[in-house]
């Protein structure tokens, strides 16, 4: 079966349509992961053992099981208890929460990476815990986290094809639909590969820039 350029141009608009949804899902998912991840990280530091343990276990569970299965659950099982989400919303929540368990680890590492001496200096300067967080710890913890967070957002982008399992018409699903109705897999699948590779190559460059920009400041 040979490569057919005419076919490529013919399917391009449809693929771009799907690509838009892929990007949208990634951005929304990243936002969810960033916010929920911080919440998880803080909850895990909670002095109340019941809270930190439960959150810990739930995170472990989410991280240890496949996103695909979780998506099926959110989309097909949750309606039984009255929660009916649109495919895109279900997908964004699924992928966002799944990746929140990863970003939570990044937040945690970032916070723990601030040298203990900084906490102590804040103490010695008689700052309150809240003031220490806002003025001393977070400003130092956040910038070094940015590259690691970005890394997960790229990984997330690459997992958006899973959303086709819950009928989101993203890039992969569009490609499959094209393939199915034309009985040609080579062009759509290769193009999807090219799209992904292009985005990741660009993001690798972006990531390098971020890493340089937010390289650890040292004392």
């Amino acid at each position: 079966m040979e490569w057919d350029w005419d076919f490529v141009w013919q399917i391009m608009p449809t693929l771009l349509e799907g690509f838009k949804i892929t990007i949208l899902a990634t951005i929304l998912g990243a936002a969810v992961a960033a916010v929920i991840g911080l919440a998880l990280a803080i909850a895990r530091r909670s002095p109340i053992a019941a809270v930190s343990r439960t959150v810990g276990f739930v995170s472990e569970f989410i991280r240890g099981t496949p996103l695909l299965v979780q998506l099926y659950f959110i989309f097909y099982v949750l309606p039984d208890i009255g929660i009916r989400l649109s495919p895109l919303v279900a997908g964004v929540i699924g992928i966002g929460v799944h990746y929140a368990t990863y970003t939570a680890e990044v937040y945690r590492a970032g916070i723990e990476n601030v040298p203990r001496g900084q906490w102590e200096a804040a103490r010695a300067a008689n700052l309150t815990t809240r003031q220490a967080w806002i003025h001393v710890i977070l400003p130092q913890a956040l910038p070094p986290m940015i590259p690691a967070l970005a890394n997960y957002f790229i990984a997330m982008f690459k997992e958006t094809p899973l959303l086709s399992a819950i009928t989101v018409l993203e890039l992969m699903n569009q490609a499959k639909s094209i393939a199915n109705s034309n009985y040609r897999y080579i062009e759509p699948m290769t193009l999807v590969g090219v799209f992904f590779l292009a985005v990741s190559l660009v993001s690798v460059v972006g990531l390098c820039w971020l890493e340089e920009r937010y390289a650890r400041m040292d004392d």
């Binding site: 991280r63 496949p66 695909l68 997992e159 094809p161 992969m172 699948m189 590969g193 992904f196 590779l197």
Partner: protein, 219 residues
């Protein structure tokens, strides 16, 4: 009346396939990780370029696209793999690319100082790697390798999309045959989690064994 015990044993058969995929995929990934990871540190430009291309390509495109490619496009190039082989190949190469960065990072983390001590003792490049760098780098790699193995385990769910009768796929079959969604999906969520838990327990044990002698090393 639905014959649940029969269908559950179907799911367990799927678990066996998942296990197989995970183990064989991890083995391939491990080999690739060391080949490409050390390749990137090579003196020779060609080796470095090859390793870099492999790593960037497989990290850049989505596991999905790789899977579809291996399964649907490779046959046109005359290479027809069984679904199991296709799954192992795609998963192993994909996770191997991530593992390669871990290997490289760990080897670099062992640091210039140890390398310089080796030069001062006149060890050859190979001797440095074999006797000094790798024995110290290995324990550093383990935690991330553990994460990678769990990622691979979760990745096996994706192979259900190329009709490999793994855990997720069997759950789909059981669902179609019985009309029940909750039971098969809950079952496989638990099974996945148990497997992930087993992986991390085993890795922790290994890590403890390997680092016992390195306790309290100051750097």
């Amino acid at each position: 009346m639905i014959d649940w015990s029969g269908y559950l044993s179907l799911i367990l058969e799927g678990a066996l396939v998942t296990l197989q995929l995970t183990i064989m995929g991890s083995a391939l990934a491990l080999v690739m990780a060391f080949l490409a990871g050390l390749g990137r540190l090579s003196r020779f430009f060609v080796v470095r370029a090859l390793a870099t291309t492999y790593i960037e390509f497989f990290r850049g495109t989505s596991i999905f696209v790789q899977l579809f490619w291996v399964y649907f496009v490779l046959p046109f190039a005359g290479l027809t793999l069984t679904p199991l082989q296709a799954g192992v190949l795609a998963l192993g190469l994909n996770v191997g690319a991530y593992g390669a960065e871990v290997v490289r990072g760990a080897v670099k983390a062992i640091g210039r100082e140890q390398g310089e001590a080796c030069i001062a003792l006149n060890l050859s490049r190979y001797q440095r790697l074999r006797h000094v760098i790798l024995p110290q780098a290995l324990p550093l790699m383990l935690p991330t390798f553990c994460n990678n193995a769990i990622e691979l385990l979760k990745g096996t769910a994706v192979v259900s999309l190329i009709s490999l009768t793994d855990l997720t796929f069997q759950a789909q079959v059981v669902r179609a045959q019985t009309g029940n969604t909750l039971v098969p999906f809950t079952t496989i969520l638990i099974l996945y989690f148990v497997m992930a838990w087993a992986i991390s327990t085993a890795m922790r044990w290994l890590e403890r064994r390997m680092t016992r002698s390195l306790d309290g090393v100051r750097t």
